[in-house]
């Protein structure tokens, strides 16, 4: 009896497919159920972010950064203003710093909730997704209270913020945290100990640390591979060096270090750390202060360039800004963390079954708006 050889078949997943988290086309070569090669085709959401930036002033870039990663707009704003402040050598008040940190961490919780929820949804767990969206809703309410917008905030400005905190914000946030903290354990139980979820994610799509570094994977995906790398600790910006928190890394509780389950679990632990950071930031927040004080009247950075990195919920968010001394950027490049995370997909997901490929893609938590820019 000889070995039966199947015929190789080329299939398209997407561009319109709910499991691709946006508009992404994956061309897969399959041999039966087994995927032998994945070629992603990007660009369906390309909105010429970098070209637009060369035609608008530095202030006007901020709304565009919102629209890149629409699930973590605050972090996108944060990265840009930090880069600009480093380029222009602006120092902002503690009040501004801590408000920014509160917002960025609330955003991280919201973003991770969606990431984990959608990951569960990809594996067929519908209920946790609804629980997580219910709590994310309360974070969006807090943002709406602050700046009027629920998705695209344009809240952090170079040298300051668009508005100061509204009255009652701190109380509402603390109330939310008290409500939310026990819920995190609930989420962990709902998904992390669910037999089907564990079977579908543990030992699936293992990403070794060297592969992750070589492919430029950052953020929770890198930490799940056991690398202790967090820019909030390793290259501190804003006031993160004054806060006490831990960097969770994957340790392969249910399977191997760097599998899909670890990527889920690191995000759950990061939510807990973010809660811790917000409580500290609220304690350290000065009562008084003008959030517009350090804002320059005209943004004209000196001639030169800067590459500045911050930790967005998806990893190292870098901005490369080249200034020619005018009020319009000469060149602005966003190094998007999800772009590199998608680049590793072929490496870690080929050889698995079709259903596992979608699970691995879900565990990487990509946002196509940021990949295509």
């Amino acid at each position: 009896m000889g070995v039966v050889h199947g015929q190789e078949m080329v299939l398209n997943i997407g561009p319109q497919h709910p499991a691709t988290h946006g508009v992404l086309r994956l061309q897969v070569k399959t041999d039966g159920e087994v995927i032998s090669e994945i070629t992603p085709y990007l660009g369906y959401l390309h909105r010429c972010f970098e070209k637009h930036c060369e035609n608008v002033t530095y202030e006007q870039v901020i709304p565009f950064t919102d629209r890149c990663d629409y699930l973590a707009s605050m972090s996108m704003n944060f990265g840009y203003v930090v880069a600009m402040e480093r380029l222009m050598d602006i120092k902002v008040d503690d009040r501004v710093e801590f408000i920014r940190i509160i917002m960025a961490e609330l955003q991280r919780i919201g973003s991770h909730l969606l990431a984990v929820g959608v990951f569960g949804l990809d594996l067929g767990a519908f209920t946790p997704f609804l629980h997580m969206l219910r709590d994310r809703e309360r974070i969006l309410d807090l943002f709406e209270m602050t700046c009027g917008a629920r998705l695209l905030y344009n809240y952090m400005w170079v040298g300051g913020l668009s508005h100061d905190l509204p009255t009652g914000f701190i109380e509402s946030t603390l109330e939310f945290l008290d409500y939310f903290e026990p819920k995190v354990d609930e989420f962990e139980n709902l998904l992390g100990n669910n037999k089907i979820f564990v079977e579908r994610s543990a030992d699936i799509g293992v990403m070794p640390a060297e592969v992750a570094i070589n492919y430029g994977v950052t953020g929770p995906n890198l930490r799940a591979s056991g690398v202790n790398w967090d820019l909030r600790k390793d290259d501190p910006y804003s006031a993160y060096s004054r806060l006490d928190f831990e960097v969770p890394v994957g340790n392969g509780i249910k399977g191997t270090v760097g599998d899909s389950w670890d990527r889920f679990y690191v995000r759950i632990q990061e939510i807990r750390q973010s809660v811790k950071i917000i409580r500290q930031a609220i304690d350290l927040l000065p009562k008084e202060g003008d959030v517009h004080k350090a804002m320059p009247k005209k943004i004209r950075p000196p001639k030169g360039s800067i590459y500045s990195r911050t930790e967005s919920p998806r990893g190292d968010l870098g901005y490369y800004i080249e200034s020619d001394g005018t009020s319009i950027p000469y060149r602005l490049k966003m190094r998007s963390p999800a772009f590199t995370a998608l680049g590793v997909l072929n490496e870690i997901a080929s050889g698995w079954l079709m259903s596992d490929v979608l699970a691995i893609l879900g565990s990487l938590d990509i946002v196509l708006g940021e990949i295509d820019r």
Partner: protein
């Protein structure tokens, strides 16, 4: 501004910094007085910054910054020693300017040398620097030594060719495709150099400064940028 006016201003500012505010107010010419006040504000800002820096929490960062300044030059010297005549132009404390020829070997050296170990390519971007030249810039980072450097490689717009480093840092695969897509810099020996964000049949290199927006694409009229919109 004449020299004696400048002298008057600097004297007044010095006095004012020591606490004698009347020194500036006593200047009769209104324009000179305003300039002196501006100079005073600037001087005060510099002064406060000088005082703040060492007491601030980033006192740990300050020696690092000095290290970084030297680091770039130090590495440039190492490269020059190992690969003679590969440095392009004068050395700079912020970046290393290289010629494209030996880039693959130098990149391999930067990644594998024990003392350098730049194992992570953070960012690759193209810049149209004008005067018929393009530049490809690489931001490297070492996860072990926690150092960062920037490498710049200049090529002419006529023949924009740089060796690909895709085999050294796998992340460069997509980064280089993006730079090719936007600037038309050809990365030789890249295994799969296609456009990545734009459609495959797009014409021109959008982020070059001489790029003109196409009028139609597959018969679809592309709307022009509105007048007065910046």
């Amino acid at each position: 501004m004449s020299e004696d006016k400048e002298k008057l201003i600097s004297e007044a500012v010095e006095k004012a910094l020591k606490g004698d505010k009347e020194a500036i107010n006593s200047i009769e010419d209104r324009v000179t007085r305003a300039k002196a006040k501006a100079a005073l504000v600037k001087a005060q800002r510099n002064q406060t910054m000088v005082i703040e820096e060492p007491t601030d929490t980033n006192s740990e960062e300050t020696p690092n910054k000095n290290q970084k300044l030297n680091l770039s030059q130090e590495i440039a010297q190492k490269i020059e020693k190992k690969f003679p005549k590969s440095i392009d132009g004068e050395q700079n404390e912020k970046w290393i300017q290289l010629k494209p020829e030996n880039w693959f070997e130098i990149a391999n050296y930067l990644k594998s040398d024990e003392g350098l170990l730049f194992d992570s390519l953070q960012c690759n971007t193209g810049v149209d620097i004008g005067e018929e030249f393009l530049e490809s810039r690489y931001n490297l980072h070492s996860m072990k030594h926690l150092n960062s450097i920037e490498i710049r490689i200049k090529v002419s717009i006529e023949n924009p060719e740089i060796p690909s480093v895709e085999k050294i840092w796998r992340v460069a695969d997509w980064f280089e495709r993006e730079t090719y897509d936007m600037f038309g810099i050809v990365f030789s020996s890249h295994s799969d150099l296609r456009r990545i964000l734009l459609p495959e049949d797009w014409e021109g290199w959008p982020l070059r400064k001489d790029y003109e927006v196409q009028e139609t694409y597959h018969g679809i009229v592309i709307p022009k940028v509105k007048e007065g919109w910046e």
